[in-house]
């Protein structure tokens, strides 16, 4: 079974020209089928949704990307695909077996242009992130998840994101408090203002340093011909040197 034959079979049923022989013929359905012609998992889901009577070989929704019969076909994971991936260095002997919950393209940083796949492993309820420049970083796509499984995964990812957001806010609040208590402002340049900070960071002895600038959670002090970032929590005191 190949994705191509599946596509041909479905197109033969839903093409508007077949209106006389098929009850499923419609322009909208044909457009959907064309859109997902290289995604057999989606095609099968659509066929089930519309109630198409397919050839018996399409009853199974198992897809093995490495199988010889799939040579030459392109399969891409979409949201809702069930995937299998050998993740041995992280998961020991067991492979990752879960549903793709979210796909996003990374727009900044050194991995710009790569894809980020969030996968909910329904065996142990963990969430994994895979980053790859390929559109198919998994060993296998083995099927299509039902709505409740996908919903469980999305809820889990949402919960993790909400937790991360709360921690970020907590840290920002702590930094804001420190900025207020030592009496400097965040996101400001202090170049040439004469403000010095008392810093002892990572085992250094406490010394007065000239303050160059501040960001949301950090202060910057001179370090040779460069500058050095110090978390604002490590600043003990400021003084003004005329």
């Amino acid at each position: 079974m190949t994705g191509k034959t599946l596509f041909r079979q479905m197109a033969g049923m839903v093409h508007p020209d077949k209106a006389t022989t098929s009850e499923h013929a419609s322009g909208a359905k044909m457009r959907e089928v064309l859109k997902h012609r290289n995604e057999p998992e989606v095609l099968l889901a659509l066929a089930r949704k519309w109630g198409l009577q397919l050839d018996g070989s399409f009853d199974s929704n198992a897809f093995d990307r490495n199988s010889s019969t799939f040579a030459g076909d392109v399969f891409e994971a979409v949201v809702g695909s069930i995937i299998k991936h050998n993740f041995t260095y992280k998961k020991g002997d067991s492979a990752l077996h879960g549903v793709v919950v979210n796909i996003r393209k990374i727009t900044k940083g050194y991995r710009k242009g790569a894809f980020e796949y969030k996968i909910y492993d329904f065996k142990d309820g963990t969430v994994w992130t895979l980053k790859s420049y390929e559109k198919q970083p998994f060993n296998k796509i083995v099927g299509n998840a039902d709505e409740s499984t996908l919903k469980t995964g999305q809820d889990k990812v949402d919960r993790i994101n909400a937790g991360n957001k709360a921690v970020k806010k907590l840290r920002q609040d702590m930094a804001d408090n420190t900025f207020a208590s030592i009496g400097i402002k965040k996101n400001k340049s202090y170049q040439g203002s004469g403000v010095h900070v008392l810093v002892g960071y990572r085992g250094d002895v406490y010394k007065w340093h000239e303050l160059i600038r501040t960001t949301a959670k950090s202060v910057y002090i001179p370090n040779g011909y460069k500058e050095r970032r110090i978390p604002v929590g490590s600043v003990r005191k400021i003084k003004l040197v005329a």
Partner: protein, 64 residues
């Protein structure tokens, strides 16, 4: 107190444990040093030590 001496005191303070600091607080009788001690204790969030230092300063001042 010079700036150098102040930093020396601070760096000495920062390397000591809570119990060491407590012992040191009982030994200091110089009011200038006690004031520094109180300041450092509040910087490093040893609230009880800071309070004790302030109390000791007031006691010593009352004796004069």
């Amino acid at each position: 107190m010079t700036d150098k001496a102040y930093l020396h005191e601070l760096n000495r303070f920062s390397t000591m444990s809570y119990n060491q600091l407590k012992t040191r607080l009982y030994k200091i009788t110089d009011i200038e040093k006690l004031k520094n001690f109180a300041e450092f204790a509040s910087i490093f969030r040893y609230k009880d030590l800071a309070d004790l230092a302030v109390e000791k300063i007031e006691f010593l001042k009352g004796n004069d």
